[in-house]
């Protein structure tokens, strides 16, 4: 089993460094915001999200022509525990993979964190919020919106990779060719990401919907719209 993130030397040093600085800045912001907003009872749930994303990233599924794909997990993490704690959880997964399992180069860690943790947890979560608003306030809309957003995550990650290749890659093939093949394969991987994310979200929504960050805004809206039950101050 050889899951592969971006290895060392794939993208040049300056581009990797810039991606590293962007990753450090956004991870630092996420640490600060999570420190202010995290509820104590959520602490083990964020740990569970990281462990689960790690496990799911090991499960490569076949897509086409002898190619496989695996979950990235940024959208799943962000919908479950919020974009900031979710970005941190997936970042820890990528750091552990690079250091312990040699999956993804050490100098490429910033690139991998940007593409798989930050793009998924922030851009992917943005897609989730928009789709959930379009679908209306209901529990199934949370699961559906998470699935739709999860589909976009590998596609957005492949766009980010193509941009990085355009700036700091070698000249083996044209940027257009990289863009085309990356988008094609990652659209298929996105289908897998959507299915896995929707199953996981559906299970958590059935067991503990109150723990789902992306569902809390729905719950708040319902409380505001519904008349308060008698006896509740």
């Amino acid at each position: 089993m050889l899951a592969m993130h971006i290895p060392d030397g794939f993208i040049d040093g300056p581009t990797s460094l810039v991606a590293g600085l962007i990753a450090i800045a956004l991870v630092a912001c996420s640490l600060g915001i999570t420190a202010r907003t995290l509820d104590e009872r959520e602490v083990p749930v964020v740990g569970l999200v990281a462990a689960f994303v790690f496990a799911l990233q090991m499960l490569n599924f076949p897509v086409a022509n002898g190619t496989s794909g695996h979950l990235l997990g940024g959208v799943m993490a962000a919908v479950l525990v919020g974009p900031y704690a979710g970005a941190l959880a997936v970042t820890v997964v990528l750091v552990v993979q690079a250091l312990l399992f040699a999956d993804g180069g050490l100098s490429a860690l910033g690139l991998n964190v940007v593409n798989m943790a930050l793009v998924g947890a922030f851009a992917g979560y943005g897609v989730f919020v928009v789709v959930r608003r379009l679908l209306g306030r209901s529990a199934p809309s949370v699961t559906t919106a998470a699935g739709v957003a999860a589909f976009t995550a590998p596609v957005l990650a492949s766009v980010a990779f193509t941009l990085e290749y355009a700036i700091g890659g070698n000249d083996a093939v044209s940027v257009g060719a990289v863009a085309g093949s990356m988008l094609a394969v990652h659209s298929l991987i996105g289908v897998g990401e959507a299915i896995i994310t929707a199953i996981a979200l559906g299970a958590v929504m059935a067991a503990r919907p109150d723990l789902v960050y992306g569902a809390r805004a729905v719950a708040r809206a319902e409380r505001t719209l519904a008349p308060a039950p008698a006896g509740v101050p």
Binding site: L100, A102, L106, G169
Partner: protein, 111 residues
């Protein structure tokens, strides 16, 4: 719904059990084909300048265990270590963040 709500502890333990079951029983059967990026890299030559990771000689590099022949056993050990490790590290980070918030404002040091 009158169904009794799962406690957070039970929810987290159940989730960790599912994660361990996935790496023990499903991960050894996961597709061993190259993933999207790896395949495109190999086909196009954009990985021409790629170097092995500095961590490539680690005991768990490549999701296996150094010295253990069986890929299945290696995958399972790597998976369980990864699931436990990521859980412990993230909970540790979150507890440090929580503690930094709940600490009362520092008093000016005497002297």
């Amino acid at each position: 719904m009158s169904r009794r709500r799962l406690s957070i502890a039970a929810f987290v333990v159940a989730g960790l059990v599912v994660a361990v079951l996935l790496v023990v029983f499903v991960a050894p059967h996961a597709s061993s084909n190259p993933d999207g990026l790896e395949r495109i890299a190999a086909d196009s030559g954009i990985d021409r300048d790629a170097r092995p990771s500095a961590a490539a000689d680690g005991p768990l590099a490549g999701y296996g265990v150094a010295g253990v022949e069986s890929a299945t056993a290696g995958t399972i050990v790597a998976g369980v270590v990864g699931v436990a490790g990521t859980f412990i590290i993230v909970v540790g980070v979150m507890l440090v963040l929580r503690r930094r918030r709940s600490r009362p404002p520092a008093e000016p040091a005497a002297g």
